[in-house]
Amino acid sequence: MKSLVLAEHEGGAIKDATLAAVTAAGKLGGEVDLLVVGSGVDAAAQAGAQIAGVSRVLVADDPAFDHALPENVAPLVVQLMGEHDAFVAPATSTGKNIAPRVAALLDVMQVSEILSVEAPNRFTRPIYAGNAIATVETGDPKLVCTVRATAFEKAARTGGSATVQPVGGAADGGLSQFVGAQQSHSERPELTSAKIIVSGGRALQNGENFKMLIEPLADKLGAAVGASRAAVDAGFVPNDYQVGQTGKIVAPEVYVAVGISGAIQHLAGMKDSKVIIAINKDEEAPIFQVADVGLVGDLFKLVPELTQKL
Protein backbone atom coordinates (compact mmCIF):
# COMPACT_ATOMS: atom_id res chain seq x y z
CA MET A 1 0.00 0.00 0.00
CA LYS A 2 1.28 3.42 -1.01
CA SER A 3 -0.76 6.55 -0.34
CA LEU A 4 -0.66 10.03 -1.78
CA VAL A 5 -1.96 12.79 0.50
CA LEU A 6 -3.00 16.16 -0.91
CA ALA A 7 -1.33 18.94 1.11
CA GLU A 8 -3.10 22.21 1.73
CA HIS A 9 -0.74 25.02 2.49
CA GLU A 10 -0.77 28.75 3.03
CA GLY A 11 2.15 31.10 3.44
CA GLY A 12 4.60 28.21 3.45
CA ALA A 13 2.84 26.33 6.25
CA ILE A 14 0.89 23.08 6.00
CA LYS A 15 -2.67 23.36 7.29
CA ASP A 16 -3.99 21.28 10.19
CA ALA A 17 -6.53 19.31 8.15
CA THR A 18 -3.67 17.89 6.09
CA LEU A 19 -2.03 16.55 9.27
CA ALA A 20 -5.20 14.58 10.06
CA ALA A 21 -5.20 13.24 6.50
CA VAL A 22 -1.58 12.07 6.95
CA THR A 23 -2.64 10.16 10.07
CA ALA A 24 -5.55 8.55 8.23
CA ALA A 25 -3.27 7.59 5.33
CA GLY A 26 -0.82 6.05 7.81
CA LYS A 27 -3.60 3.80 9.08
CA LEU A 28 -3.96 2.30 5.60
CA GLY A 29 -0.51 0.78 6.16
CA GLY A 30 2.53 1.36 3.98
CA GLU A 31 4.22 4.49 2.74
CA VAL A 32 2.70 7.96 2.77
CA ASP A 33 3.70 10.52 0.16
CA LEU A 34 2.64 14.14 0.38
CA LEU A 35 1.72 16.14 -2.71
CA VAL A 36 2.45 19.88 -2.63
CA VAL A 37 1.26 21.91 -5.63
CA GLY A 38 1.48 25.58 -6.59
CA SER A 39 4.18 28.01 -7.63
CA GLY A 40 7.03 28.99 -5.32
CA VAL A 41 6.13 26.31 -2.82
CA ASP A 42 9.60 25.48 -1.49
CA ALA A 43 8.80 26.49 2.08
CA ALA A 44 5.63 24.38 2.12
CA ALA A 45 7.53 21.42 0.67
CA GLN A 46 10.21 21.74 3.35
CA ALA A 47 7.54 21.99 6.05
CA GLY A 48 5.88 18.89 4.60
CA ALA A 49 9.16 16.97 4.76
CA GLN A 50 9.26 17.49 8.54
CA ILE A 51 5.86 15.90 9.17
CA ALA A 52 6.15 12.62 11.04
CA GLY A 53 5.16 9.64 8.93
CA VAL A 54 5.73 11.18 5.50
CA SER A 55 8.16 9.27 3.24
CA ARG A 56 8.39 11.56 0.25
CA VAL A 57 7.17 15.02 -0.60
CA LEU A 58 6.24 15.29 -4.27
CA VAL A 59 6.34 18.89 -5.43
CA ALA A 60 4.61 20.18 -8.55
CA ASP A 61 5.89 23.73 -8.82
CA ASP A 62 3.90 25.41 -11.57
CA PRO A 63 1.60 28.46 -11.70
CA ALA A 64 -1.03 26.21 -13.31
CA PHE A 65 -1.49 24.61 -9.90
CA ASP A 66 -1.97 27.87 -7.98
CA HIS A 67 -5.33 28.13 -6.22
CA ALA A 68 -5.64 24.35 -6.55
CA LEU A 69 -7.77 24.52 -9.69
CA PRO A 70 -9.22 20.99 -9.96
CA GLU A 71 -9.16 21.01 -13.76
CA ASN A 72 -5.36 21.20 -13.58
CA VAL A 73 -4.60 19.36 -10.34
CA ALA A 74 -6.78 16.27 -10.93
CA PRO A 75 -4.91 15.08 -14.09
CA LEU A 76 -1.61 15.48 -12.23
CA VAL A 77 -2.90 13.33 -9.36
CA VAL A 78 -4.21 10.73 -11.81
CA GLN A 79 -0.76 10.54 -13.35
CA LEU A 80 0.83 10.04 -9.92
CA MET A 81 -1.73 7.37 -9.05
CA GLY A 82 0.13 5.10 -11.46
CA GLU A 83 2.45 4.37 -8.56
CA HIS A 84 0.06 4.88 -5.64
CA ASP A 85 -2.80 2.77 -4.32
CA ALA A 86 -4.67 5.48 -2.44
CA PHE A 87 -5.38 9.19 -2.82
CA VAL A 88 -6.25 10.80 0.48
CA ALA A 89 -7.46 14.41 0.76
CA PRO A 90 -8.66 16.43 3.73
CA ALA A 91 -12.45 16.98 3.62
CA THR A 92 -12.01 20.73 3.19
CA SER A 93 -13.46 22.84 0.42
CA THR A 94 -10.27 22.21 -1.58
CA GLY A 95 -10.20 18.46 -0.95
CA LYS A 96 -13.90 18.09 -1.74
CA ASN A 97 -13.37 19.99 -4.97
CA ILE A 98 -10.48 17.88 -6.24
CA ALA A 99 -10.87 14.32 -4.91
CA PRO A 100 -14.14 13.35 -6.68
CA ARG A 101 -12.70 14.63 -9.96
CA VAL A 102 -9.72 12.33 -9.43
CA ALA A 103 -11.99 9.41 -8.47
CA ALA A 104 -14.10 9.70 -11.63
CA LEU A 105 -11.00 9.89 -13.83
CA LEU A 106 -9.78 6.67 -12.17
CA ASP A 107 -13.27 5.13 -12.46
CA VAL A 108 -13.58 4.53 -8.72
CA MET A 109 -16.13 5.59 -6.11
CA GLN A 110 -14.84 8.06 -3.58
CA VAL A 111 -15.35 7.32 0.11
CA SER A 112 -16.32 10.72 1.53
CA GLU A 113 -15.42 12.11 4.95
CA ILE A 114 -14.10 8.96 6.59
CA LEU A 115 -14.26 8.85 10.39
CA SER A 116 -12.13 5.75 10.85
CA VAL A 117 -10.09 3.19 8.97
CA GLU A 118 -11.36 -0.28 9.89
CA ALA A 119 -9.25 -2.01 7.24
CA PRO A 120 -7.42 -0.70 4.15
CA ASN A 121 -10.68 -1.11 2.19
CA ARG A 122 -13.20 -0.60 5.00
CA PHE A 123 -14.20 2.70 6.58
CA THR A 124 -16.86 4.38 8.67
CA ARG A 125 -18.46 7.59 7.44
CA PRO A 126 -21.38 9.77 8.51
CA ILE A 127 -24.59 9.83 6.46
CA TYR A 128 -27.89 11.70 6.99
CA ALA A 129 -26.22 14.65 8.73
CA GLY A 130 -24.38 12.31 11.07
CA ASN A 131 -27.62 10.72 12.30
CA ALA A 132 -26.25 7.42 11.06
CA ILE A 133 -22.76 6.03 10.71
CA ALA A 134 -22.20 3.70 7.77
CA THR A 135 -19.44 1.12 7.54
CA VAL A 136 -18.56 0.75 3.88
CA GLU A 137 -16.21 -1.50 1.97
CA THR A 138 -14.80 -0.64 -1.42
CA GLY A 139 -14.03 -3.19 -4.07
CA ASP A 140 -12.32 -0.70 -6.37
CA PRO A 141 -8.68 -1.31 -7.35
CA LYS A 142 -7.62 2.15 -6.12
CA LEU A 143 -8.86 4.07 -3.10
CA VAL A 144 -9.91 7.71 -3.18
CA CYS A 145 -11.15 9.15 0.09
CA THR A 146 -11.58 12.41 1.97
CA VAL A 147 -10.87 12.61 5.69
CA ARG A 148 -12.87 14.35 8.41
CA ALA A 149 -10.20 16.27 10.28
CA THR A 150 -11.92 16.12 13.68
CA ALA A 151 -11.93 12.31 13.62
CA PHE A 152 -8.16 11.78 13.43
CA GLU A 153 -5.23 12.94 15.51
CA LYS A 154 -2.97 15.43 13.76
CA ALA A 155 0.37 14.00 12.65
CA ALA A 156 3.30 15.74 14.37
CA ARG A 157 4.66 18.70 12.42
CA THR A 158 8.23 17.67 13.21
CA GLY A 159 10.21 14.49 13.54
CA GLY A 160 9.96 13.38 9.93
CA SER A 161 12.71 13.48 7.33
CA ALA A 162 11.07 12.93 3.98
CA THR A 163 12.87 13.33 0.69
CA VAL A 164 11.64 16.13 -1.55
CA GLN A 165 11.15 15.26 -5.17
CA PRO A 166 9.88 17.41 -8.03
CA VAL A 167 7.09 16.06 -10.21
CA GLY A 168 5.62 17.62 -13.31
CA GLY A 169 3.58 16.81 -16.32
CA ALA A 170 0.01 17.88 -16.71
CA ALA A 171 -0.18 21.68 -16.72
CA ASP A 172 -2.78 24.30 -17.52
CA GLY A 173 -5.71 22.77 -19.37
CA GLY A 174 -7.10 26.25 -20.03
CA LEU A 175 -10.60 25.32 -18.81
CA SER A 176 -10.72 27.56 -15.76
CA GLN A 177 -9.11 30.64 -14.35
CA PHE A 178 -8.82 32.05 -10.85
CA VAL A 179 -10.32 35.54 -10.76
CA GLY A 180 -10.04 36.60 -7.14
CA ALA A 181 -10.82 35.87 -3.52
CA GLN A 182 -12.53 37.60 -0.66
CA GLN A 183 -10.82 36.08 2.32
CA SER A 184 -12.23 36.85 5.72
CA HIS A 185 -9.41 37.99 7.95
CA SER A 186 -9.52 37.56 11.67
CA GLU A 187 -7.12 37.79 14.56
CA ARG A 188 -9.03 35.02 16.25
CA PRO A 189 -8.13 31.33 16.14
CA GLU A 190 -9.29 29.42 13.06
CA LEU A 191 -12.69 27.82 13.51
CA THR A 192 -11.73 24.25 12.64
CA SER A 193 -8.70 24.13 14.92
CA ALA A 194 -9.88 26.33 17.81
CA LYS A 195 -10.03 24.92 21.35
CA ILE A 196 -13.02 27.09 22.23
CA ILE A 197 -15.77 28.32 19.92
CA VAL A 198 -18.58 30.79 20.57
CA SER A 199 -21.35 30.57 17.96
CA GLY A 200 -24.33 32.84 17.48
CA GLY A 201 -27.67 32.16 15.82
CA ARG A 202 -30.66 33.91 14.37
CA ALA A 203 -31.56 35.27 17.80
CA LEU A 204 -28.76 37.85 17.49
CA GLN A 205 -31.07 39.72 15.07
CA ASN A 206 -28.35 41.60 13.18
CA GLY A 207 -24.63 41.94 12.51
CA GLU A 208 -24.28 44.78 15.00
CA ASN A 209 -25.53 42.65 17.87
CA PHE A 210 -23.29 39.82 16.73
CA LYS A 211 -20.30 42.18 16.95
CA MET A 212 -21.33 43.69 20.26
CA LEU A 213 -22.27 40.46 22.05
CA ILE A 214 -20.65 37.38 20.52
CA GLU A 215 -17.24 38.81 19.62
CA PRO A 216 -16.38 40.31 23.04
CA LEU A 217 -17.37 37.03 24.70
CA ALA A 218 -15.17 35.11 22.24
CA ASP A 219 -12.30 37.51 22.91
CA LYS A 220 -12.61 37.01 26.66
CA LEU A 221 -12.41 33.25 26.16
CA GLY A 222 -9.75 33.34 23.44
CA ALA A 223 -12.31 31.61 21.26
CA ALA A 224 -13.06 31.40 17.55
CA VAL A 225 -16.43 32.64 16.32
CA GLY A 226 -18.96 30.47 14.53
CA ALA A 227 -22.58 30.78 13.49
CA SER A 228 -25.69 28.91 12.47
CA ARG A 229 -26.88 28.91 8.89
CA ALA A 230 -29.68 31.30 9.82
CA ALA A 231 -27.14 33.87 11.06
CA VAL A 232 -25.10 33.53 7.87
CA ASP A 233 -28.12 33.65 5.54
CA ALA A 234 -29.29 36.82 7.26
CA GLY A 235 -25.87 38.37 6.63
CA PHE A 236 -24.79 38.83 10.27
CA VAL A 237 -21.45 37.11 9.48
CA PRO A 238 -19.65 35.74 6.39
CA ASN A 239 -20.34 32.29 4.94
CA ASP A 240 -17.19 30.70 6.32
CA TYR A 241 -18.55 31.04 9.89
CA GLN A 242 -21.23 28.43 9.27
CA VAL A 243 -20.99 25.33 11.42
CA GLY A 244 -22.99 22.28 10.39
CA GLN A 245 -23.80 19.44 8.01
CA THR A 246 -23.06 21.65 5.04
CA GLY A 247 -20.70 24.08 6.71
CA LYS A 248 -17.69 23.44 8.90
CA ILE A 249 -17.29 20.44 11.15
CA VAL A 250 -15.81 21.38 14.51
CA ALA A 251 -14.97 19.50 17.69
CA PRO A 252 -13.45 21.94 20.17
CA GLU A 253 -12.94 21.43 23.90
CA VAL A 254 -15.79 23.86 24.53
CA TYR A 255 -18.58 24.97 22.18
CA VAL A 256 -20.84 27.79 23.34
CA ALA A 257 -24.11 28.06 21.36
CA VAL A 258 -25.88 31.37 21.85
CA GLY A 259 -29.41 31.80 20.48
CA ILE A 260 -29.14 28.67 18.34
CA SER A 261 -32.07 26.25 18.38
CA GLY A 262 -30.08 23.09 17.59
CA ALA A 263 -31.47 21.89 14.24
CA ILE A 264 -30.04 18.51 13.15
CA GLN A 265 -28.05 20.26 10.43
CA HIS A 266 -26.33 22.44 13.03
CA LEU A 267 -25.77 19.58 15.48
CA ALA A 268 -24.10 17.61 12.68
CA GLY A 269 -21.28 20.13 12.73
CA MET A 270 -20.62 20.44 16.46
CA LYS A 271 -21.98 17.50 18.42
CA ASP A 272 -18.55 15.93 18.77
CA SER A 273 -17.39 18.91 20.84
CA LYS A 274 -16.11 17.83 24.23
CA VAL A 275 -18.31 20.19 26.24
CA ILE A 276 -21.36 22.00 24.86
CA ILE A 277 -22.76 25.06 26.56
CA ALA A 278 -26.06 26.55 25.41
CA ILE A 279 -27.75 29.85 26.12
CA ASN A 280 -31.31 30.00 24.85
CA LYS A 281 -34.52 31.57 26.09
CA ASP A 282 -36.58 28.53 25.12
CA GLU A 283 -36.05 25.76 27.65
CA GLU A 284 -37.48 23.28 25.14
CA ALA A 285 -34.90 24.15 22.46
CA PRO A 286 -33.34 20.95 21.04
CA ILE A 287 -29.84 22.32 21.70
CA PHE A 288 -30.41 21.53 25.39
CA GLN A 289 -30.69 17.82 24.53
CA VAL A 290 -27.00 17.79 23.67
CA ALA A 291 -25.74 20.55 25.97
CA ASP A 292 -23.66 19.64 29.01
CA VAL A 293 -24.45 22.98 30.60
CA GLY A 294 -27.56 24.98 29.73
CA LEU A 295 -28.60 28.46 30.75
CA VAL A 296 -32.20 29.47 30.01
CA GLY A 297 -32.82 33.14 29.48
CA ASP A 298 -32.51 36.21 27.31
CA LEU A 299 -29.11 36.36 25.64
CA PHE A 300 -29.28 40.17 25.47
CA LYS A 301 -29.15 40.21 29.24
CA LEU A 302 -27.07 37.08 29.95
CA VAL A 303 -24.25 37.47 27.42
CA PRO A 304 -23.15 40.99 28.50
CA GLU A 305 -23.27 39.86 32.12
CA LEU A 306 -21.18 36.78 31.31
CA THR A 307 -18.63 38.76 29.31
CA GLN A 308 -18.33 41.34 32.02
CA LYS A 309 -17.89 38.83 34.84
CA LEU A 310 -15.30 36.72 33.06
Binding site: H67, P100, G130, V232, V254, F288, V293, G294, L310
Partner: protein, 249 residues
Amino acid sequence: MKVLVPVKRVIDYNVKPRVKADGTGVDLLNVKMSMNPFDEIAVEEAIRLKEKGAATEVIVVSIGEPKAQETLRTALAMGADRAILVAAAQEVEPLGVAKVLAAIVGEEQPGLVILGKQAIDDDSNQTGQMLAALTGRPQGTFASKIEVSGDAVEVTREVDGGLETVRLSLPAIVTTDLRLNEPRYASLPNIMKAKSKPLAQKTAADYGVDLSPRLRTVQVAEPSKRQAGVKVGSVDELIDRLRDLGVAA
Protein backbone atom coordinates in the same frame (compact mmCIF):
# COMPACT_ATOMS: atom_id res chain seq x y z
CA MET B 1 -28.23 27.48 -24.19
CA LYS B 2 -29.87 24.52 -22.50
CA VAL B 3 -29.47 24.06 -18.76
CA LEU B 4 -29.61 20.57 -17.26
CA VAL B 5 -30.50 20.16 -13.57
CA PRO B 6 -30.20 16.76 -11.85
CA VAL B 7 -32.58 16.46 -8.88
CA LYS B 8 -32.62 13.77 -6.22
CA ARG B 9 -35.55 12.60 -4.10
CA VAL B 10 -34.38 12.41 -0.49
CA ILE B 11 -35.70 12.35 3.06
CA ASP B 12 -37.24 15.74 3.91
CA TYR B 13 -34.72 17.90 5.75
CA ASN B 14 -37.16 18.43 8.62
CA VAL B 15 -37.39 14.73 9.42
CA LYS B 16 -35.03 13.20 11.93
CA PRO B 17 -33.60 10.06 10.31
CA ARG B 18 -33.93 6.80 12.25
CA VAL B 19 -31.53 3.91 11.88
CA LYS B 20 -33.24 0.57 11.24
CA ALA B 21 -32.99 -1.90 14.10
CA ASP B 22 -31.31 -4.50 11.87
CA GLY B 23 -28.50 -2.11 10.99
CA THR B 24 -29.10 -2.26 7.24
CA GLY B 25 -29.85 1.41 6.72
CA VAL B 26 -32.12 4.31 7.59
CA ASP B 27 -35.87 3.74 7.83
CA LEU B 28 -37.56 5.49 4.89
CA LEU B 29 -40.92 3.73 5.17
CA ASN B 30 -43.74 6.27 5.62
CA VAL B 31 -41.21 9.07 5.90
CA LYS B 32 -41.80 12.39 4.17
CA MET B 33 -39.60 12.69 1.06
CA SER B 34 -38.76 15.89 -0.81
CA MET B 35 -36.44 17.31 -3.39
CA ASN B 36 -32.88 17.61 -2.07
CA PRO B 37 -32.73 21.26 -0.83
CA PHE B 38 -29.58 22.04 -2.82
CA ASP B 39 -31.33 20.79 -5.97
CA GLU B 40 -34.25 23.17 -5.39
CA ILE B 41 -31.68 25.94 -5.39
CA ALA B 42 -30.24 24.54 -8.63
CA VAL B 43 -33.68 24.43 -10.30
CA GLU B 44 -34.38 27.99 -9.16
CA GLU B 45 -31.09 29.24 -10.59
CA ALA B 46 -31.74 27.56 -13.93
CA ILE B 47 -35.21 29.11 -14.14
CA ARG B 48 -33.77 32.54 -13.33
CA LEU B 49 -31.20 32.14 -16.11
CA LYS B 50 -34.07 31.40 -18.48
CA GLU B 51 -36.06 34.37 -17.23
CA LYS B 52 -33.02 36.58 -17.81
CA GLY B 53 -32.70 35.26 -21.36
CA ALA B 54 -29.37 33.52 -20.68
CA ALA B 55 -30.93 30.05 -21.03
CA THR B 56 -33.43 28.74 -23.56
CA GLU B 57 -34.59 25.51 -21.96
CA VAL B 58 -34.41 23.92 -18.50
CA ILE B 59 -34.30 20.12 -18.42
CA VAL B 60 -34.52 18.25 -15.11
CA VAL B 61 -33.40 14.68 -14.61
CA SER B 62 -33.62 12.21 -11.77
CA ILE B 63 -32.15 8.75 -11.43
CA GLY B 64 -34.05 6.54 -9.05
CA GLU B 65 -37.26 4.72 -8.25
CA PRO B 66 -40.57 5.58 -10.01
CA LYS B 67 -41.55 7.91 -7.17
CA ALA B 68 -38.78 10.28 -8.21
CA GLN B 69 -41.41 11.38 -10.76
CA GLU B 70 -42.98 13.45 -7.98
CA THR B 71 -39.70 15.29 -7.52
CA LEU B 72 -39.49 15.92 -11.25
CA ARG B 73 -43.07 17.22 -11.30
CA THR B 74 -42.18 19.62 -8.51
CA ALA B 75 -39.29 20.94 -10.61
CA LEU B 76 -41.61 21.26 -13.62
CA ALA B 77 -44.10 23.15 -11.47
CA MET B 78 -41.34 25.53 -10.40
CA GLY B 79 -40.76 26.28 -14.10
CA ALA B 80 -38.55 23.63 -15.70
CA ASP B 81 -39.57 22.76 -19.27
CA ARG B 82 -39.22 18.99 -19.44
CA ALA B 83 -38.04 16.05 -17.40
CA ILE B 84 -36.20 12.76 -17.77
CA LEU B 85 -36.63 9.91 -15.30
CA VAL B 86 -33.95 7.24 -15.42
CA ALA B 87 -35.35 4.23 -13.59
CA ALA B 88 -33.04 2.51 -11.14
CA ALA B 89 -34.01 -0.08 -8.58
CA GLN B 90 -31.19 -0.11 -6.12
CA GLU B 91 -29.63 2.91 -4.41
CA VAL B 92 -27.43 4.60 -6.94
CA GLU B 93 -23.95 5.89 -6.18
CA PRO B 94 -22.52 9.24 -7.32
CA LEU B 95 -20.21 7.55 -9.86
CA GLY B 96 -23.12 5.73 -11.49
CA VAL B 97 -25.27 8.87 -11.45
CA ALA B 98 -22.42 10.87 -12.97
CA LYS B 99 -22.07 8.31 -15.78
CA VAL B 100 -25.77 8.48 -16.64
CA LEU B 101 -25.62 12.27 -16.51
CA ALA B 102 -22.53 12.29 -18.75
CA ALA B 103 -24.48 10.28 -21.35
CA ILE B 104 -27.40 12.72 -21.13
CA VAL B 105 -24.98 15.64 -21.46
CA GLY B 106 -23.70 13.95 -24.61
CA GLU B 107 -27.23 13.82 -26.04
CA GLU B 108 -28.55 17.18 -24.91
CA GLN B 109 -25.36 19.29 -25.04
CA PRO B 110 -26.37 21.70 -22.26
CA GLY B 111 -24.24 24.83 -21.83
CA LEU B 112 -24.55 24.47 -18.07
CA VAL B 113 -25.33 21.61 -15.73
CA ILE B 114 -26.32 22.85 -12.28
CA LEU B 115 -26.34 20.25 -9.49
CA GLY B 116 -26.68 20.46 -5.74
CA LYS B 117 -23.37 20.45 -3.90
CA GLN B 118 -24.48 17.57 -1.73
CA ALA B 119 -27.38 15.18 -1.31
CA ILE B 120 -28.53 15.37 2.32
CA ASP B 121 -28.97 11.58 2.56
CA ASP B 122 -25.60 10.16 1.47
CA ASP B 123 -23.75 13.45 2.15
CA SER B 124 -21.31 12.45 -0.59
CA ASN B 125 -20.60 15.80 -2.25
CA GLN B 126 -19.18 14.12 -5.34
CA THR B 127 -21.57 13.90 -8.27
CA GLY B 128 -20.97 17.32 -9.85
CA GLN B 129 -17.19 17.01 -9.66
CA MET B 130 -17.39 13.50 -11.14
CA LEU B 131 -19.62 14.66 -13.97
CA ALA B 132 -17.14 17.45 -14.72
CA ALA B 133 -14.33 14.88 -14.87
CA LEU B 134 -16.25 12.49 -17.12
CA THR B 135 -17.26 15.24 -19.55
CA GLY B 136 -13.89 17.03 -19.42
CA ARG B 137 -15.65 20.23 -18.41
CA PRO B 138 -14.59 22.86 -15.86
CA GLN B 139 -16.36 22.91 -12.50
CA GLY B 140 -17.57 25.68 -10.21
CA THR B 141 -18.52 23.98 -6.96
CA PHE B 142 -20.33 25.44 -3.92
CA ALA B 143 -21.62 28.43 -5.89
CA SER B 144 -23.12 31.47 -4.20
CA LYS B 145 -23.26 33.50 -7.41
CA ILE B 146 -23.35 32.60 -11.12
CA GLU B 147 -22.85 35.08 -13.94
CA VAL B 148 -23.00 33.96 -17.55
CA SER B 149 -21.34 36.27 -20.04
CA GLY B 150 -20.64 35.22 -23.60
CA ASP B 151 -18.78 31.95 -23.74
CA ALA B 152 -17.84 31.92 -20.08
CA VAL B 153 -19.40 31.79 -16.64
CA GLU B 154 -18.07 33.43 -13.49
CA VAL B 155 -18.80 31.45 -10.38
CA THR B 156 -18.35 32.79 -6.85
CA ARG B 157 -17.64 29.87 -4.53
CA GLU B 158 -18.12 29.44 -0.79
CA VAL B 159 -14.77 28.10 0.41
CA ASP B 160 -13.29 27.50 3.86
CA GLY B 161 -11.55 30.87 3.96
CA GLY B 162 -14.42 32.98 2.58
CA LEU B 163 -15.34 33.47 -1.07
CA GLU B 164 -13.45 32.76 -4.28
CA THR B 165 -14.33 33.57 -7.88
CA VAL B 166 -13.37 31.44 -10.87
CA ARG B 167 -14.01 31.97 -14.56
CA LEU B 168 -14.97 28.82 -16.46
CA SER B 169 -15.25 28.42 -20.18
CA LEU B 170 -18.64 27.13 -21.29
CA PRO B 171 -19.91 24.44 -21.33
CA ALA B 172 -19.38 24.01 -17.58
CA ILE B 173 -20.62 22.22 -14.46
CA VAL B 174 -21.79 24.15 -11.39
CA THR B 175 -22.87 22.94 -7.94
CA THR B 176 -25.01 25.09 -5.65
CA ASP B 177 -24.45 26.28 -2.11
CA LEU B 178 -27.11 27.59 0.26
CA ARG B 179 -26.72 31.29 -0.43
CA LEU B 180 -27.13 31.13 -4.23
CA ASN B 181 -30.82 32.00 -4.10
CA GLU B 182 -34.09 31.35 -2.34
CA PRO B 183 -36.14 28.84 -4.30
CA ARG B 184 -39.70 29.79 -5.22
CA TYR B 185 -42.78 27.83 -4.31
CA ALA B 186 -44.77 26.43 -7.18
CA SER B 187 -48.16 28.12 -7.56
CA LEU B 188 -51.29 26.01 -7.88
CA PRO B 189 -51.84 26.87 -11.58
CA ASN B 190 -48.22 25.95 -12.28
CA ILE B 191 -48.63 22.65 -10.46
CA MET B 192 -51.60 21.91 -12.73
CA LYS B 193 -49.65 22.97 -15.83
CA ALA B 194 -46.70 20.80 -14.82
CA LYS B 195 -48.85 17.68 -15.17
CA SER B 196 -48.86 18.06 -18.94
CA LYS B 197 -45.20 18.91 -19.38
CA PRO B 198 -43.14 16.16 -21.05
CA LEU B 199 -41.53 13.52 -18.83
CA ALA B 200 -39.43 10.91 -20.64
CA GLN B 201 -38.97 7.47 -19.05
CA LYS B 202 -35.56 5.88 -19.52
CA THR B 203 -33.37 3.21 -18.00
CA ALA B 204 -29.65 3.18 -17.30
CA ALA B 205 -29.32 0.53 -20.01
CA ASP B 206 -30.63 3.08 -22.55
CA TYR B 207 -27.46 5.01 -21.82
CA GLY B 208 -25.24 1.94 -21.68
CA VAL B 209 -24.37 2.54 -18.04
CA ASP B 210 -23.78 -0.18 -15.47
CA LEU B 211 -25.08 1.03 -12.11
CA SER B 212 -23.77 -1.83 -9.96
CA PRO B 213 -22.44 -0.33 -6.75
CA ARG B 214 -18.73 -0.13 -6.01
CA LEU B 215 -19.19 0.34 -2.29
CA ARG B 216 -20.80 -2.26 -0.07
CA THR B 217 -22.55 -1.03 3.03
CA VAL B 218 -21.53 -3.47 5.73
CA GLN B 219 -23.53 -1.85 8.50
CA VAL B 220 -25.42 1.31 9.43
CA ALA B 221 -25.33 2.22 13.10
CA GLU B 222 -26.56 5.00 15.33
CA PRO B 223 -23.91 7.48 16.39
CA SER B 224 -22.99 7.56 20.05
CA LYS B 225 -25.62 9.61 21.83
CA ARG B 226 -24.89 12.63 23.98
CA GLN B 227 -26.62 12.88 27.31
CA ALA B 228 -28.36 16.11 28.18
CA GLY B 229 -26.43 17.73 31.00
CA VAL B 230 -27.51 20.15 33.68
CA LYS B 231 -29.21 23.50 33.53
CA VAL B 232 -27.67 26.21 35.64
CA GLY B 233 -29.71 29.01 37.16
CA SER B 234 -27.45 32.02 36.72
CA VAL B 235 -24.45 33.47 34.96
CA ASP B 236 -22.42 33.00 38.16
CA GLU B 237 -23.13 29.28 38.16
CA LEU B 238 -22.19 29.11 34.50
CA ILE B 239 -18.88 30.80 35.24
CA ASP B 240 -18.26 28.25 38.02
CA ARG B 241 -18.71 25.51 35.42
CA LEU B 242 -16.37 27.27 33.02
CA ARG B 243 -13.79 27.46 35.82
CA ASP B 244 -14.15 23.73 36.48
CA LEU B 245 -13.42 23.21 32.79
CA GLY B 246 -10.39 25.44 32.98
CA VAL B 247 -11.91 27.81 30.45
CA ALA B 248 -12.33 30.80 32.75
CA ALA B 249 -9.80 32.07 35.22
